[in-house]
């Protein structure tokens, strides 16, 4: 793994190398170089299995952290490649040409985070949220509680199981009256 990281470092600008386990490392790469790095790892370094494409919303920093997670089935090693993209007009180069399932991930991220992947197949088709017209719901600023209070209403006659409320009723029944 050390040798692979050294080789990557010679050709790509990588930072924040975190060795999580002997066979698991996380690195950060610039947005412009990310797809080239993934292609290099797949074609030259044997990371033939694409595991996961995920996003972390760092709203306080104004960035999305995209994570491409690759696996080398022969050497049994994993690498997570982070790349930061701006939350405003979030766009990333599509990687659907590398692995078929990436198009599905990109379609989901477009819907859930509003990140666009121009050129990715069916990226504009709704994946789970058919007819959704609010902000992308997995963004941190989307308040699930507020949304449910505005769109749904509590069932009448439903008793609360909140421990505080329950103990209050039990210990001070008169107070409520």
């Amino acid at each position: 793994m050390e040798q692979i990281l050294q080789d990557i470092g010679k050709q790509f600008k990588i930072t924040d190398i975190v060795k999580k386990r002997d066979n698991l490392n996380f690195i950060t790469c610039e947005k412009e170089q990310t797809i080239s790095l993934i292609t290099y790892l797949r074609d030259i370094k044997g990371f033939s299995h694409f595991v996961l494409l995920s996003v972390v919303d760092w709203i306080e920093d104004g960035v999305f952290q995209l994570v491409y997670f690759l696996n080398n089935p022969d050497k049994k090693i994993d690498i997570g490649i982070r790349t930061m993209i701006s939350r405003e007009n979030a766009t990333m180069t599509s990687a659907h040409h590398l692995w078929e399932q990436i198009a599905t991930y990109q379609r989901e991220l477009k819907e859930m985070y509003g990140i666009d992947f121009p050129g990715s197949p069916r990226v504009d088709e709704s994946f789970i949220l058919e007819g959704w017209d609010d902000i992308p719901p997995m963004r941190r600023e989307f308040d699930t509680k507020k949304y449910s209070e505005e769109n749904f209403f509590p069932r009448e006659g439903r008793e609360t199981n909140d421990p505080e409320e329950y103990m209050k009723k039990k210990l001070y029944p008169d107070e409520e009256k």
Binding site: K20, H49, V51, P73, K76, Q101, P121, R122
Partner: protein
């Protein structure tokens, strides 16, 4: 491979319209040559809450699109707003059929990011729970394959035997479906008195079931006719699509997380994952039957080799005030359908920043199934779905 090569059915795809570069298809429904058919969400041949939008020409499928969202409950979003111990009870609902893999992955992520080492006894019990979960799942999937071709008897046997394993789960954990046994820091309890004998009694019945289901299903001429050479998954597609687990093993790829990345106590167990090469529906089902045999053997080994008693919980912080330093990790285990992973990010607060599930069905039921169905006969759709082990809750977490 050679034996079945003549049987592998390859439709004449030249008569189908060409797909555009963005995956769309120009089909003129007004020509009356094509018909759109929805298989699901309410259909006996669909594996759970999903549907397939099929464009067919005669009996053959020209295009397939997977539709999910019938079950979406926003678990990953909910977990971001809950404390770690609350997130634990939420994440297990992501897969109803085999929730223990969620328990393990979530707990392992929390432990790894908190720097907690779990006692050895707890690791043995965790492995036992995971194998029991795999066993009850395989008892549904293996005979379920026959059900897609009209062979319903095996399913009734499987339901009975699965209930025996759920009985063992009930006495071990208190729950039949959701167990919440593998918790962050360890497990909730030791084996009850007489558990091993009662488990052995159930395993003996499963041994007999494997013999019976082989005679009933795998040697059945109709079942073979419907599954041998059908739904062929090209080995070149394994990495191209990210196929894992039994589906990859049926195509000759010896991939098993328990062997490749040993976790818990799997390095102390003696077994070899079964692989085959024909890569059709029959072979994928055969691999699952052998997985069932392996799982029975592994449970016996675990019960024989595990210590009689020991500490089952590590020291953990107060669960209501559990803060985890900033970090990230990826943890995986082998579910009955293949690699099952969790990516967790923490930011130093009492809440996870991000929890992302990587379920095998995300690949198997969407991108792979959509490609595999092109050219298939509409009567084989259910068999293909079951043979790929599709499970929609993993897609719409």
């Amino acid at each position: 491979m050679k034996k079945n090569s003549k049987l592998i059915w390859t439709p004449d795809r030249s008569k189908f319209p060409e797909q555009n570069s963005d995956g769309s298809l120009d089909v003129d429904l007004a020509s009356q040559k094509y018909v759109k058919v929805w298989q699901g969400p309410n259909h006996p041949g669909v594996t759970g809450n999903m549907s397939l939008e099929l464009t067919i020409c005669g009996d053959e499928i020209v295009q397939a699109k997977t539709h999910v969202g019938y079950l979406h409950r926003g678990f990953e979003k909910l977990i971001e707003r809950r404390k770690f111990i609350q997130g634990f009870t939420t994440c297990i609902r992501m897969c109803v059929a085999e929730p223990d893999t969620n328990e393990y992955n979530f707990s392992r992520c929390v432990e790894e990011l908190s720097g907690i080492e779990v006692p050895e006894m707890a690791n043995w019990l965790r492995a036992l729970a995971l194998e029991m979960a795999r066993l009850q799942m395989l008892l549904r999937i293996v005979p379920g394959q026959g059900n897609t071709t009209g062979l319903g008897l095996g399913v009734q046997w499987g339901v009975y035997l699965r209930d025996l394993i759920l009985d063992r789960f009930e006495e071990l954990t208190g729950g039949r479906v959701y167990h919440m046994y593998i918790t962050p820091g360890g497990v909730r309890g030791l084996l009850p008195d007489g558990f091993k004998q009662r488990m052995e009694d159930a395993l003996k019945k499963i041994d007999e079931f494997i013999v019976d289901i082989t005679k009933l299903m795998y040697n059945n001429a109709v079942f073979k006719k419907r599954t041998v050479g059908v739904g062929y998954l090209d080995p070149a597609w394994i990495d191209k699509f990210g196929v894992v687990g039994p589906n990859a093993r049926a195509a000759g790829f010896k991939r098993d997380v328990r062997k490749d990345y040993p976790y818990l106590i799997y390095d102390k167990l003696d077994y070899e994952p079964f692989t085959a090469t024909d890569s059709d529906i029959y072979t994928r089902s055969l691999v699952r039957r052998e997985d069932l045999r392996t799982t029975v053997e592994l449970i016996r080994q675990i019960m024989a080799k595990m210590p009689k008693t020991g500490n089952i919980r590590a020291q953990t912080p107060n669960v209501l005030h559990w803060k985890i330093p900033k970090g990230e990790t990826y943890v995986r285990c082998e579910s009955s359908r293949g690699e099952y992973g969790y990516y967790m990010v923490t930011d130093g607060s009492e809440f996870p920043r991000r929890v992302n599930l990587r379920g095998p069905s995300y690949v198997h039921a969407v991108s792979l199934l959509e490609k595999l169905l092109v050219g298939a006969n509409i009567a084989d759709v259910s068999s293909m779905m079951v043979s790929l082990g599709t499970c929609p809750p993993e897609i719409e977490r």
